[in-house]
Subunit: 368 residues, 2 copies
Amino acid sequence: MPDNFVVTPWRVEGEIDYDRLTEQFGTTKLTDELLDRLRKIAGEDHFMLRRRIFFSHRDLNMILDSHESGKGFFLYTGRGPSGHTHIGHLIPWVFAKWLQDRFGANMYFQLTDDEKFYSQNNMTLDETRGFAYENALDFVALGFDPAKTSIVIDTEDISTLYPLAAQVAKKLNFSNMKAVFGFTNETNIGMIFYTSLQSAPCFLEDKPVLIPLGVDQDPHFRLTRDVAPKLGRPKPALLHNIMVPALGGPGGKMSGSSGGAIYTTDDPGTVKKKINKYAFSGGKADVEEHRKLGGDPEVDVSYQYLRIFFEPDDARLRKIHDEYRSGSLLTGELKGILIEKINTFLARHQEARERAKDRMGEFRLAKN
Amino acid sequence: MPDNFVVTPWRVEGEIDYDRLTEQFGTTKLTDELLDRLRKIAGEDHFMLRRRIFFSHRDLNMILDSHESGKGFFLYTGRGPSGHTHIGHLIPWVFAKWLQDRFGANMYFQLTDDEKFYSQNNMTLDETRGFAYENALDFVALGFDPAKTSIVIDTEDISTLYPLAAQVAKKLNFSNMKAVFGFTNETNIGMIFYTSLQSAPCFLEDKPVLIPLGVDQDPHFRLTRDVAPKLGRPKPALLHNIMVPALGGPGGKMSGSSGGAIYTTDDPGTVKKKINKYAFSGGKADVEEHRKLGGDPEVDVSYQYLRIFFEPDDARLRKIHDEYRSGSLLTGELKGILIEKINTFLARHQEARERAKDRMGEFRLAKN
């Protein structure tokens, strides 16, 4: 039976079966044993690991080995700046911040303004570069250590990236790109070349790199991993997070282009309206039935947002889960909890985002 | 009947029929009328035009129109730094220098270290970049005006080139590259992308550009010309020179990789040895027969080098031609004339090349 979902860097559709995706992509599911090892070394757990928001990896053991050997590792993740940041984008960034804190690792954050220019028919390079700056503010607002963190904007830091990208590009051919991305003869040559630029930051330091990222980005690094040994470099290690569901419910990921995303720049009223109006409910048709039969937290988008991001406390999340399941918590009440959580987060985030405007210089790659 | 020659940016083989090539490529042969117009505007002629060393063009009239309208134009040519400069490379550079002098035009000289890295299996980027510097010395030695001339090294000036290249790359697809270059699924993605970087300097100024270049480079700019109107920019105009024949005779072009090239760094003894030993002769098997039947200057490499580069004086060239044709000038004597000419040129050139080592900074694009 063919899978009824699609996950590529440019398209996520259907209800994703993450077990099947793990098989399809050839990644490895995170085991309790590996997470035990990570927790012991980090000194604490992270709810995104416990809850398998990060559910899969490549070579995480190698990264922990490198850390324990004293060689260490560095972190890298990124964002394709096709619009404002929404809360789905923050998952790997927040997690990377935790990794930086626990491991003292250097961090590179790549903004792929060129990629979004190549992939979006209707966007100019000035527009994608403008969003790169907007997205960078959200990244800085999360509290990364400027002494250990560099923001890389493709078109502006190309002099650092291109010589590294060239090494990768020489080892990849059009067959490779067709096989991994389904490119055709009509694909533009910017897109064809682009993976080599997304690979470049993997080679910025002479250490292994760990990349926390949405699983849709895995195909780029599958290619990087094939090339790395040919360049005498370690393969990049990956930690994959699930796609944050769209407000409208299961199927696809939260996306500006498909509508219904919560942006980091939304004001409290907007958040309230979006959640109340659009957040897909796992509840029953009316209150009476809901009280009797209970709701389904597995498909309820508000519950999922709490699980994925906004309620780190397991006991409180469990309570919400059980009450919704039993029917004692109504959909409107559940939405109210989420709205409160999001707006509390955004109030602080938006303040930090304002302060970030004066601090961008501290985070530019060129400072190195 | 299939043509028994091949001309691409990476391969020149067989005895080129330039009339057929002009048809194949869809370029326009230079007419006496157009050269009259050019001469009137420039105030003088150039032997490379009179002798049709530059034999074909695209849109040269448009460039002259732009000059006469006061808008002007700028110049651009380049070099793929896969080895030391040989005298074949100097043709478009020397001619560009004349154009700069006559028209006061700005000049950009691109060194495509990335392209040669992508196209040569056995070269590293450090090696091609090293040759880029070596080749740049020869360029500077020709006497360009530093106030009007910029040297562009792809990997070092990529921050200027890449945003322009991206505009081109978005408008070209793999079909285009296959059609023009015969690329296959096994072609590396650096090569596939590369044409967009060779196109980029065409858009460095808000004026039309004129590119004097070896005709083997035409295919890149055929693509650039297709894209330019889509970017709202004028099509680059081209002036094509013939390929300088290899020392070993007709068929192919002078090339370091196929052996038998005269390098700008050769000492007088080396030049003498190479010409005497390798320069293909149009003479007869022995002196007696040569005196009786005469030689064939059309296939004689020494005569051709004089015609193409080393004897700008038409009357003297005609005398050499006629005497060789008649048999009164022997092959050894003809070679002696060429050796003398080359070594006189190189003595001056090598001095200027030494001085250029301290002057490179004046010519870097970054100065702008």
